[in-house]
Symmetry: C2
Subunit: 211 residues, 2 copies
DNA sequence: CGTGCCGTTGACAGGCGTCAAGTACAGTGG
DNA sequence: CCACTGTACTTGACGCCTGTCAACGGCACG
């Protein structure tokens, strides 16, 4: 799926910097596309770190809708939870590897986990602003910039997730996402290479949209 | 402002349980209504705890809009930040007292702060779901239930914030908030006592709205 | 009683969701 | 090599929800 990227293209950061004296990390567990990593209601006694691939964290609502709260890529910690049971689901996007630590065996309050929690918190707040106060086209622009940042600020990259995922992340419909991408293309801000390939032609223009 | 509450009414929890061996808490600092506690760009080397009153945390966007990310009441920690400078603003709602700890003098990674960070994170996620996937009336219902919870699950309570604040928290306009409240009243789910007084008549019905 | 602020209500328009049809592309099998 | 199929994505038509603009009502305060 997202393994067929031309070599010259940026991708999401999959290289993990060597951790300094972080013990008790289990070996890499591998997941196929769409496979559940944890689900709502399960005991939350592990914290995960993405090694390669990507992860979506979401909840299903009673009206049948799905809200994706976050995407996680290589190096990101996820699964931190304020209660002892998960209130969200996590699934692999494409072939994905994660490692985890067991919270029973480890002190919960570690600097690495603390800053991971703050990073997650900060990302959630930024996303609140996007879905709260931005129009459809602004949300899509913000999303593209975010994905660019997370693939090392590359101007050209490939989305690892489908339109449905993008829509559920931005609290839009796939049709609106599609239309917004088309508008951005017509305005000369981006170019589309196939369904997943994105090129940011007008980086500054995109940023101006998101103010 | 929110000091003129009839004694029989629930209020937001202002009583602080005695902390067990938590040192270095500065004495209470008092703020008047609307006073800034910290603002975007300042160094974030303090973490605050509400002693009485309430706090709104928000950001102003370029289009002139304001998004309130969270309200904080007695006992809540706020001001935790992943970077060394604040990216948000915090203001007092009504007469408000806070205490803070200095992060320079204290180890950042303490259990109390860690769980505070996770609580903040969790609240941000729940709020993402509300503003992402709920209609106007569902958001208002969810808000009332949240305020009820935070005033000790009382059926009858008084809002400490204005309609503008509610609107900016729910990513709506004041008109839509007002209309939604009227609808909830006409459906017999709530009763309004003045502008700020709320009585939840149909608690279950409200919950069913928010599924 | 006038003034100002806050909240409510109404009329209207626009953006986005919904429904539906059309296109592109990969995989499969003949 | 090509037809067939299914999935993902795009585009179009239309309606509703919510934002915008405006007027009105209630209440505190001077």
């Amino acid at each position: 799926m997202n393994t067929s990227i031309s070599a010259s293209w940026g991708r999401h950061i999959n290289v993990i910097p060597p951790q300094s004296g972080e013990p008790a990390l289990a070996p890499i567990s591998s997941f196929v596309d769409g496979q559940c990593i944890y689900s709502c209601g399960e005991r939350a006694d592990q914290v995960y770190r993405v090694e390669f691939g990507a992860v979506r964290v979401y909840r299903l609502l009673a009206n049948g809708r799905r809200q994706i709260l976050a995407f996680h890529f290589g190096g990101d910690w996820f699964g931190l939870q304020s209660r002892d049971r998960h209130s969200l689901n996590a699934e692999a996007i494409g072939v994905t590897g994660v490692r985890y630590i067991n919270l029973q065996e480890e002190p919960l309050c570690r600097p690495a986990l603390f800053s991971a929690a703050l990073e997650n918190f900060s990302a959630a707040q930024e996303h609140q602003l996007v879905i709260g106060r931005q129009s459809a086209i602004e949300r899509v622009a913000a999303f593209l910039l975010e994905m660019s940042e997370r693939s090392g600020y590359s101007r050209r990259f490939e989305l690892s997730m489908s339109r449905v995922d993008v829509a559920d992340y931005l609290a839009l419909t796939i049709e609106t996402v599609s239309r917004s991408l088309t508008k951005l293309k017509h305005r000369g801000f981006i170019e589309l290479h196939g369904a997943r390939g994105i090129e940011l032609v007008g980086y500054r223009s995109l940023q101006n949209l998101c103010l």
